[in-house]
């Protein structure tokens, strides 16, 4: 018996076009299936079909059949599948029912009516399996992102389901947190034989774990194949895979290790490249001097001195809770520093981490135009230009809240950037973004800097930093730990971008591409 059988599944949300079209495939028991696809392609919808949230919770038109471990979701509600399918959605924070980790983990067991002794044992085992036994008495709201995600998985895992369905479990996490979560998932799969269905955008870590992968594109799902076969032609593949594709390596590598073997004798290793952007800094726009910020009794930022000049793209790196967001907010003058000051002539606009706190207009175009209206201007050309630049022009008439996470993120960036502020502060802008959206964002960021503005990005996304940052600042525990040109800082880091680890001194696939073109010219 297969774990999941999708039989000719088509589905449309109420008053919308088809989100899934004739999906037909099987998931084998005990495998890790990776689901990839661009933002809004139907990944989440597909995952929600697996335990019947679609159509029981979503409504809409559903045809075909999904069989989870011999039970059809047509006749079984999600609650009747809770003992075989554990589901963790995109936003872990909103999924906790009880404000204490241990009791939240026990919640599903209480519902299933497991005897008390068995329940105690199951909770202990689950806490240990995910390595969160020391957090049992804590409130989920006080946990770090990675801990919170593991606690959410524990809440789904406690019933010892035969399958776990995880929707972008690492999108909000720093590299360390993402490693912890994926390691826990792969351990569950290896030790307990739990089937895992995993949707992800950040594939650097997830791809090597998967047994098979499927590509979702416009609601169509190709039949599952090996991750290598699926990712070789996929735009959002890890950068080593894209590097392999560029240099004609066959088979295309999925991990840094595979790539390093293939690259060991490549003539480009150790080539010298000029940093064209390193001296591009113009007039100073914002300067923070000896900044200290207290959040409650906690010192979130200490003694930070930072200049932001024209033409710069500055990436702030550091683990969850290192003070990145606080620094952005302080530079945008949203928090009052307890010591030091922020000055400078540049206007500063800030895009918050959660685009949901910004969006309120009924259409995407209206949302972007709203900022100009607030500033007392009317400039339809600027609105269209930003919609185009961030690749959301085709969504202009949709309701922002009906769109996927990566799309909302771009709307928020467009809505803030259109106001014409010189310095843009973007907080974690690539959360849940696919390759095309990231490219669009990268181009928009570079164009803004080239036009005399500056951009400050707080991000966990090392590849994004490598791609567009001119300068990198690493924060730890509220203090600036390293600051310098992107290449110099990233080269020494444990979390260096993949290409740098394979073909130093290149940071990105684009760098290699340019170097190749140059060597072939003469």
């Amino acid at each position: 018996m297969s774990a999941f059988e999708f039989r000719q599944v088509s589905f449309a949300y109420p008053d919308a076009d088809l989100a899934l079209r004739e999906v037909d495939f099987e998931v084998a028991p005990g495998e890790i299936l990776l689901v990839v696809g661009s933002s809004g392609s139907g990944k989440s919808t597909l995952l929600r079909c697996a335990n019947g949230l679609v159509p029981h919770s979503s409504g809409g038109r559903f045809s075909g059949d999904v069989i989870a471990f011999g039970r059809s979701t047509r006749s079984h509600h999600p609650r009747e599948l809770a003992d075989v399918v554990g589901f963790v959605g995109q936003d872990p924070e909103a999924q906790f029912v009880v404000d204490q980790v241990e009791h939240d983990v026990a919640f599903v067991l209480e519902n299933l009516g497991i005897p008390e002794q068995a329940m105690r044992r199951r909770v202990e085992e689950t806490l240990d399996a995910l390595g969160i036994a020391h957090l049992r008495d804590r409130s989920p709201s006080t946990l770090s992102g990675g801990e919170r995600q593991r606690a959410a998985i524990a809440g789904a895992l406690a019933a010892a389901p035969s399958a776990l369905v995880l929707d972008e479990p690492t999108s909000q996490l720093d590299p360390q947190g993402a490693d912890d979560v994926l390691a826990a998932v792969s351990r569950l799969n290896a030790d307990l034989g739990t089937t895992v269905v995993l949707a992800e955008h950040r594939l650097e870590r997830a791809a090597p774990l998967a047994d098979r992968a499927v590509l979702v594109d416009g609601g169509r799902v190709a039949s599952p194949a090996s991750p290598r076969a699926v990712l070789t032609g996929y735009a959002g593949a890890p950068s080593v895979t894209r590097l392999g594709r560029l240099l004609g390596w066959d088979p295309a590598p999925l991990t840094v290790r595979e790539a390093r073997d293939a690259a060991s004798k490549h003539p480009l290793i150790g080539a010298t490249i000029a940093d064209p952007l390193s001296d591009a800094r113009g007039d100073m726009l914002v300067r923070a001097t000896n900044l200290e910020v207290m959040l409650g009794a906690q010192r979130a930022l200490a003694n930070a001195t930072i200049d932001i000049g024209q033409g710069e793209v500055v990436a702030l790196l550091g683990r969850n809770g290192a003070g990145k967001t606080t620094l952005l907010r302080a530079l945008a003058r949203l928090v009052e520093p307890s010591r030091g000051r922020v000055d400078g002539s540049g206007t500063v606009a800030y895009v918050p981490q959660d685009p949901g706190s910004l969006l309120f207009a009924p259409t995407v175009r209206g949302e972007v135009a709203e900022t100009l209206r607030l500033l007392g201007r009317r400039d339809d050309d600027a609105v269209e230009a930003w919609l185009e630049r961030l690749g959301i022009a085709h969504l202009a008439e949709r309701h922002p809240r009906s769109l996927a996470g990566g799309e909302r993120q771009r709307i928020a960036v467009a809505a803030v950037a259109v106001g014409g502020a010189e310095v843009l502060m973007l907080d974690e802008p690539t959360r849940g973004m696919d390759a095309a959206s990231r490219n669009a964002l990268e181009h928009a960021v570079k164009a803004h800097a080239a036009a005399g503005g500056a951009v400050v990005l707080a991000t966990h996304d090392i590849e994004l930093a490598a791609q567009c940052a001119t300068r990198v600042i690493v924060l730890g525990d509220g203090e600036v730990i390293v600051e310098g040109p992107a290449r110099a800082v990233l080269a020494g880091s444990l979390y260096a971008p993949q290409v740098l680890r394979v073909l130093p001194p290149f940071l990105t696939v684009t760098d290699v591409e340019i170097a190749l073109a140059r060597t072939q010219q003469p």
């Binding site: 509600h77 909103a94 906790f96 409130s139 019933a159 907010r329 800030y350 918050p352 910004l358 803030v416």
Partner: protein, 360 residues
């Protein structure tokens, strides 16, 4: 359970001994309890805010009482006055402000602050989910709804803050007042709605309401309906001063309600995780705590004049040692380990044998 007794004992004691000095003792006790046992969640942080809000309310009450109540002997000062027309009550606003009225209102305000302090301390030290767990099974679903709703409060506060900040940052710090309320309310509501939907899906995915209603639960539903009908009819009969019929109907209603609760509790297939029965130490603690209002009550029956504070003629409130000692009994929970004092809190000692640590 212990905390519930504590809160009831505290409020009773305040009402039995409204002398401001005794009330201050109880407020102090509440503060000590919060700092010793507060769970560190949003409700523990809310303690000073609730007390401050009650204080503001008390001060407002003093001002209102002072300008509308007259008839004391010591006039503090006079203000211009006017008498409201008969339709609006016909009392005089302003005029002489008497010391007695001010002091009396202040003392009453302090009693309100005291009761709020006890209530806020109760919220700060108790885990609401555990409170639901101790309720009879029939009320579990209802209690869960309340707990989930309470869990929304902090997230909505965060959301309001974030939305306000996003609105300010969008224009690069320029403040646009027109339409601001709409811009700030719509995202909060929409985010809240999305959160609610996610939560309901999470409840569903985790087997909440797994079995569906059983025959006993349906029976309980009918019993409940019958009980409500009976009680409603009893009320009508009472209004019509048909005492005997009202009594019969009320008994039918009460029996029906009892039957419904028993039926539902029996039908529930939920198993509670880590219920902790009350230990001897808990009973001791409860006994000491309950002793406080009982002692105060006894003292008041014996006729201790210090419990109440007569404001006319105005004298400095006096204190006897015995009631203070009685009130200090409310500190009893502080004598124990923070984790052990909550009647339903999980004990700190790991009881799982190491053999179960490995995956099966």
């Amino acid at each position: 359970m212990t905390w519930l007794c504590w809160a009831l004992a505290g409020t009773t004691a305040i009402q039995l001994a409204p002398n401001p000095l005794y009330v201050l003792v109880v407020i102090g006790v509440a503060w000590v309890v919060v700092s010793a046992h507060g769970l560190g969640g949003p409700f523990a942080r809310a303690f000073p805010w609730l007390v401050a809000a009650a204080t503001v309310f008390g001060i407002l009450r003093v001002v209102l009482t002072a300008i509308t109540t007259h008839g004391g002997s010591d006039v503090l000062f006079s203000t211009p006055s006017f008498t409201l027309p008969e339709v609006l009550g016909g009392f005089t606003v302003g005029g002489t402000i008497e010391t007695q009225a001010v002091v009396y209102a202040a003392a009453e305000g302090l009693v309100i602050v005291g009761i709020v302090a006890v209530f806020a301390a109760f919220n700060a030290v108790v885990s609401h989910y555990e409170l639901v767990q101790t309720a009879p099974r029939a009320f579990h679903e209802l209690g869960l709804v309340v707990v989930v709703a309470l869990a929304f409060v902090p997230s909505i506060i965060t959301s309001i803050h974030d939305v306000g900040e996003a609105d300010r940052a969008r224009t690069g710090g320029r403040i646009v007042r027109r339409g601001r309320l709409l811009r700030r309310i719509v995202p909060v509501l929409e985010s809240g709605l999305e959160r609610a939907i996610t939560l309901s899906e999470s409840l569903d995915s985790r087997g909440f309401g797994h079995r569906g209603p059983s025959a006993r639960e349906r029976g309980a539903g009918w019993c409940g309906a019958l009980a409500l009908l009976g009680l409603g009819a009893a009320f009508v009969a009472l209004v019509a001063s048909e005492g005997a019929i009202a009594l019969v109907l009320a008994i039918i209603g009460a029996v029906g309600l009892g039957a419904a609760i028993v039926l539902v509790s029996g039908a529930s297939t939920r198993v509670r995780y880590r219920r902790r029965p009350l230990t001897a130490a808990d009973f001791a603690c409860i006994a000491v705590v309950i002793a406080a209002p009982v002692l105060v009550g006894v003292v008041s029956l014996v006729g201790d004049a210090t419990l109440k504070w007569p404001v006319d003629p105005l004298l400095w409130p006096s204190v006897h040692v015995l009631p203070v000692v009685a009130l200090l009994a409310l500190l009893a929970p502080c004598a124990r380990q923070p984790a052990a004092v909550m009647a339903t809190a999980p004990p700190r000692i790991r009881t799982a044998p190491p053999a179960t640590v490995d995956a099966p």
